[in-house]
């Protein structure tokens, strides 16, 4: 263990000695309970009805606008893509891809 590590360990041990008063302990317990109480239940995901409506709308609009086959048209949007477009949660998931990449790399490291 080098000098830096010894010093860091010493600081860690000092910081570990901190304690909070009973009032704060109580407030933290309440905060935890409040957070857990507000968790969404295991039923239908919030975004599902909105996604279904958005999918239906996109299909109707697509049919009305294109009105038939167009050889040069872009490939049709898949149901998965529609779900991503319509769902805020899915968008957040995509935005956090860096986390998944990091997590996989970390596991393999």
């Amino acid at each position: 263990m080098n000098k830096d590590q010894q010093f860091q360990n010493q600081i860690k041990q000092t910081l570990d000695r901190q304690s909070v008063n009973p009032e704060t302990e109580n407030a933290l317990r309440k905060a935890r309970q409040a957070a857990l109480a507000q968790a969404p239940d295991g039923g239908m995901p919030r975004w599902l009805p909105a996604t279904a409506v958005a999918c239906l709308l996109m299909i109707v609009v697509g049919v009305l606008v294109t009105g038939g086959d167009h050889p040069d048209a872009l490939p049709p949007i898949t149901a998965d893509e529609l779900a991503v477009i319509a769902s805020e949660d899915e968008l957040e998931l995509l935005e956090e891809l860096e986390f998944y990449i990091w997590f996989e790399e970390d596991k393999n490291a």
Binding site: T14, S19, N21
Partner: protein, 172 residues
């Protein structure tokens, strides 16, 4: 929420909440706001990430908390600027907390360390606390602070060097 997930989250929070609060207090010195930031971070983790694997919760929770702390500093800065320009607009400022010692019990040695820590730039404080105290890896710290691993190494080395110098100088 599935009962096993709820139970696992409850255990995770029990293990993390005290250190998360103390870390927030070490950085912002405001008991009420530190509690609020920890509670908001818990809530966000539950609402957005409860379905993630339990081993992912730690880095995610601290990322949410560190972002909240950064936003807190931005708001303080904004209030200061606004206070300078329009003093009457911020007359409802909360009173400054008496001291961290009223909520967190510090002995002399601890007080010295915390005081020295607070003299470092915020990024160095955050990096040092996550690496040395929370024992996050360089990679986990980089994720929690949304910075590169090289930046973590630089901040950590500088923080360690500065802290050692400050604490040694006090001893002499």
């Amino acid at each position: 929420m599935d009962p096993p997930v709820k139970q696992a989250l409850d255990v995770f929070f029990r293990e993390s909440e005290r250190k998360a609060y103390l870390m927030a207090m070490a950085l912002i010195h405001n008991h009420h706001d530190a509690l609020e930031l920890v509670q908001d971070s818990m809530l966000k983790l539950v609402q957005k990430y409860q379905h993630r694997a339990a081993e992912e919760w730690g880095p995610l929770f601290y990322r949410i908390l560190q972002n909240a702390i950064r936003d807190w500093f931005r708001k303080q800065k904004f209030r200061q600027v606004l206070g300078g320009l329009l003093p009457w607009q911020v007359s409802d400022n909360e009173p400054v907390e008496a001291s961290a010692e009223t909520q967190v019990q510090l002995d002399d040695e601890l007080a010295r360390v915390v005081t020295a820590l607070n003299r470092l730039p915020l990024r160095q404080q955050q990096t040092f606390l996550l690496r040395a105290w929370q024992e996050f890896s360089t990679r986990e710290t980089a994720f929690a602070l949304s910075i590169s691993e090289n930046s973590v190494k630089t901040h950590y080395a500088r923080a360690t060097r500065q802290l050692r110098r400050m604490l040694r100088d006090e001893d002499e």
